[in-house]
């Protein structure tokens, strides 16, 4: 689609079973593999907390609203990463500040911000496509541009990803406690409002990074998909985060490979988007994880045993 030049370099020079020629020597592929993998690691880890804290809706909305940042960035001539990041941080912060501690009102606040900002992003996308030179902008914003990530942007992406992981490591225990009970955390002296705000900012950054890779339409899937699968397979928070991060990284790596290979596929040597493969792999993993019987707890197991028998 937005066929960046390099992956075509080995086109037509033979066909091997798994790795098309040039896969291991292509610069854009290296950059895509590195940034994609690191971003998937952060997304998986942050995604577990997103699900634990019951903020999947906020994560989804952040991605939708990343469209605002991405389209705005093109209009102002800066890289989409900065647009995504700015939108993610600003919108995440706004959603947290507009909400109260109760989960129900958090959803309402998210919805209100979502509605307002989506109107503006629609306008910006319209302006991009009408006043800009190509319609490629919309495609890049909505479907990602992993093969175009290079140099400076790649470095910035890695830096933000590490920042997200570090923040998560620092806030790990209070976040867990807060996900069990906000009162419990507050009674132990955790500054729960500040913690909630910090997490929304980290989530904003994470969603921004995944928007860059798989686009704003599919970035919630990169955030929630691996986490949802990991929750089915693991019992403890660290195991869940590790599993989700590994799943995300694996799916992204395989997605990059398949996207590269797809330049040689019929009917046209045009390539398929990375995001398609990444999400397809994640969704397959989620479906497969459902086949695994949930490990029996001592709780209300009988009900689940009958409905989820594999």
């Amino acid at each position: 689609m937005r066929a960046m030049s390099s992956p075509r370099s080995g086109f037509g020079s033979g066909f091997r079973f798994l790795f098309e020629p040039g896969f291991f020597s292509s610069g854009p592929v290296h950059a895509a593999l590195l940034t994609g993998t690191v971003v998937a690691l952060v997304s998986g880890a942050v995604g577990v907390f997103t699900v634990l804290r019951g903020q999947s809706f906020a994560g989804h909305s952040l991605a939708d609203l990343g469209t605002l940042g991405g389209s705005g960035a093109f209009l102002f001539g800066v890289g989409p990463l900065w647009g995504f990041i700015a939108a993610g941080v600003a919108v995440g912060g706004a959603m947290d500040l507009a909400s109260t501690r109760r989960r129900a009102s958090r959803g309402v606040a998210t919805g209100i911000v979502l509605g307002a900002v989506q109107g503006v992003s629609a306008l910006l996308l319209y302006l991009d496509t009408t006043s800009g030179s190509t319609t490629g902008v919309t495609v890049t914003v909505l479907f990602g541009s992993l093969f175009a990530v290079s140099g400076y942007t790649a470095t910035a992406t890695l830096a933000f990803a590490l920042l997200g992981l570090a923040s998560l490591a620092v806030c790990y225990r209070p976040l867990l406690l807060d996900s069990v009970s906000t009162d419990l955390a507050a009674a132990r002296g955790v500054r729960v409002r500040l913690l909630g705000l910090a997490f929304m900012v980290v989530m904003g950054i994470t969603v921004a990074l995944s928007s860059l890779i798989v686009g704003t339409i599919l970035s919630p899937a990169l955030l929630i998909g691996p986490a949802a699968t990991a929750l089915r397979l693991t019992q403890s928070p660290l195991a869940a985060m590790g599993t989700a991060a590994a799943l995300g990284a694996l799916a992204t790596g395989l997605g990059v490979l398949l996207a590269y290979d797809s330049y040689h596929w019929k009917p046209v040597g045009n390539g398929w988007p990375v995001s398609l493969f990444v999400i397809a792999l994640l969704f397959t993993a989620y479906l497969l994880s459902g086949l695994r019987r949930p490990r029996a707890g001592t709780g209300p197991a009988p009900a689940t045993a009958t409905t989820e028998a594999a």
């Binding site: 225990r173 089915r232 707890g297």
Partner: protein, 305 residues
């Protein structure tokens, strides 16, 4: 009983517990708060000593949860003071364990019972935590103490209400607090599970020398273990031993309404109205029960009059 006539507003401070040191663990003085134009608490005061099990009794809406939240530092009061271990409330490390009424964890959340108990050690700290044998052992011992070892590796969200309470008690006590605050732990439990939780709390608290402040709307499940009672009604509180406080004349003054306290088979019934005599009730005169609307302690009907 020859206790002096006790004014609800000025009960003498209870003496030191028979087996506890004199130093108060919790001092609540003159705490008042108005919410939504209603006086929820009006100069409430009481003192807890080490190892004492105190029931905070009152009907729904009497202000139990508000009072506990003030004690925990989760909300401020309009006036008065709360001191834990002789020190005013601060944000951090107050030596108070807390068991909330509800937790918000989902069924599929990957958090095992042992993870939640471990968070009781240092869940408020920032930064990564290194696993250590000492921590694992402390968690295992605490789980054993609350009889939760068999579901230690199950997800918290899949546990029953009683099992979750055990895990939360272990979470609250593993850091060795001086005070354990429990908000309506019996509200969502069946009678048997509730009785088990009360006995467990009492046993573990005595072993650790922890003072317990446990709120409930029914006094009866607490009778076997309770040293003191804080009875909350009409925004005010009386505090003392159960036999000092739960008496017709004390509660009548607290409610500002005639109240009768009946003792039946070792259980206590708090009844609106002054005409009921215990022997009449014991004799089984059904019409007496009917026209005075006998109700367990603290149901809203008691102070509706």
């Amino acid at each position: 009983m020859s206790a002096p006539v006790i004014s609800p507003m000025s009960l003498p401070a209870p003496g030191p517990a028979p087996d506890g040191p004199a130093r108060p663990v919790l001092e609540v003085e003159q705490v008042s708060i108005r919410l939504g134009g209603r006086q929820i608490l009006d100069r409430v005061g009481f003192t807890l000593r080490a190892g004492e099990f105190t029931g905070l009794i009152g009907s729904n809406g009497a202000g139990k949860t508000t009072l506990l939240r003030i004690v925990l530092g989760l909300r401020g009061a309009d006036g008065g003071s709360v001191r834990v271990g002789g020190k005013p409330l601060t944000r951090r490390a107050r030596g108070v364990g807390y068991v909330p009424q509800k937790i918000q964890i989902e069924h599929d959340a990957p958090l095992r019972a042992r993870d939640l108990v471990a968070l009781g050690l240092d869940g408020e700290r920032l930064g990564p935590r290194l696993p250590s044998r000492d921590r694992r052992d402390a968690v295992a011992r605490m789980l054993e103490a609350v009889d939760a070892t068999r579901f230690a590796d199950a997800r918290v969200g899949t546990l029953s209400g009683g099992e979750q309470q055990r895990v939360l008690i272990a979470h609250a006590l593993i850091a060795r607090p001086r005070l354990l605050v429990m908000d309506e732990p019996l509200a969502n439990l069946d009678l048997r599970a509730g009785q088990e939780i009360v006995e467990l709390t009492s046993r573990v608290a005595r072993e650790q020398g922890v003072a317990v402040l446990l709120s409930a709307h029914d006094i009866n499940p607490l009778l076997p273990v309770m040293d003191k009672v804080v009875y909350l009604a009409e925004g005010r509180a009386v505090h003392g031993r159960t036999d000092q406080v739960v008496r017709s004349e004390v509660l009548s003054e607290l409610y500002r309404h005639p109240i009768s306290v009946l003792r039946v088979d070792g259980r206590i019934l708090v009844v609106a109205g002054a005409t009921v005599r215990a022997e009449a009730f014991d004799a089984g005169e059904r019409d007496v029960r009917a026209d005075t609307a006998a109700r367990p302690a603290g149901l809203p009907e008691v102070h509706a009059g």
